[in-house]
Symmetry: C2
Subunit: 169 residues, 2 copies
């Protein structure tokens, strides 16, 4: 085993701040969505990703990759969203196997009502907190990190949603 390359003092400070952001930012996003829209971050993401598809529907496997969740976690979530009338599941047309999730009109309306408040929070906590240069750097840094994080074939930063609209529109 090679000797541990401990973090330098400077790296430690940066890592400590990064851990704080990894904890506090999701908490803020989740808290706002729960309070204002009765949704988890994961649930909001699923509704948003469905709303961006031309048919307002996506295969479950594709949806899991887009929201960076496992298929089993997604399956539980979609079950809950289905009971609230915001999503329904249908068998995939093309090959008779697999399953697609479809955003209902009620689900679209719920997302549309939730989006302005959520986007305002994202802007306030992230984009307004950074200079334009830092926003660009954040894009480059997150792209670099995702090359080590994204599971093969399941890449959330891949180009297959390059034409889609925003999270939270």
């Amino acid at each position: 085993m090679e000797p541990t390359r401990w973090l330098t003092d400077g790296e430690q400070e940066i890592w400590r701040r990064t851990l704080a952001v990894l904890t506090l930012l999701p908490n803020e996003l989740e808290g706002q969505l729960q309070r204002d829209a009765d949704l988890t971050r994961f649930g909001y993401g699923v509704l948003a990703m469905l709303s961006e598809a031309p048919t307002r529907s996506r295969r479950m496997s594709e949806l899991a990759a887009l929201v960076n969740g496992s298929q089993s976690r997604l399956s539980h979530l979609v079950g809950r969203l289905e009971r609230r009338g915001w999503v329904r599941r249908e068998r995939a047309d093309d090959d008779g196997r697999g399953c697609v999730a479809v955003l209902t009109d009620a689900g679209y309306a719920h997302l549309a009502a939730a989006a302005p408040g959520h986007v305002a929070l994202v802007r306030s906590l992230v984009f307004d907190a950074l200079t334009p240069t830092q926003v660009t750097q954040l894009g480059e840094i997150t792209a670099a990190l995702l090359t080590r994080l994204a599971p093969p074939g399941d890449c959330p930063a891949s180009s297959d949603h390059g034409g889609s609209n925003a999270d939270g529109r």
Copy 2:
């Protein structure tokens, strides 16, 4: 209400990547700690923060701020760590009120065994994935984000632990 300032296409792409990192990076860290050290990220952070204190002990309120957790969540966690013999709670000496958490020798040994593997993962997923310039930028970006995230008086990036050692040493 002012009109919603929707994210531009470029901002959307950056936000999508940021969300992916916010989901995937904690998952990787948590998975490794659970598998290799039977610890959550939060539990590892508590042991690490105690190990850095000169007396290997900290007030519970201070500890909560350092690991960005609520006092109630910390209290539950410390109870679990106490049952495993890694931490013990004592009444604070100075004013007879409040409570301090103390890292036991067994807790220190457990942390020392866990640290090399965890630091190696952090280096591999974060520091080795970025250029030195990007590491510096990450430090500046996270500092800027924390000005909007840290609760007043509870700031995880404050200078009160400037002389401490690393997370995960």
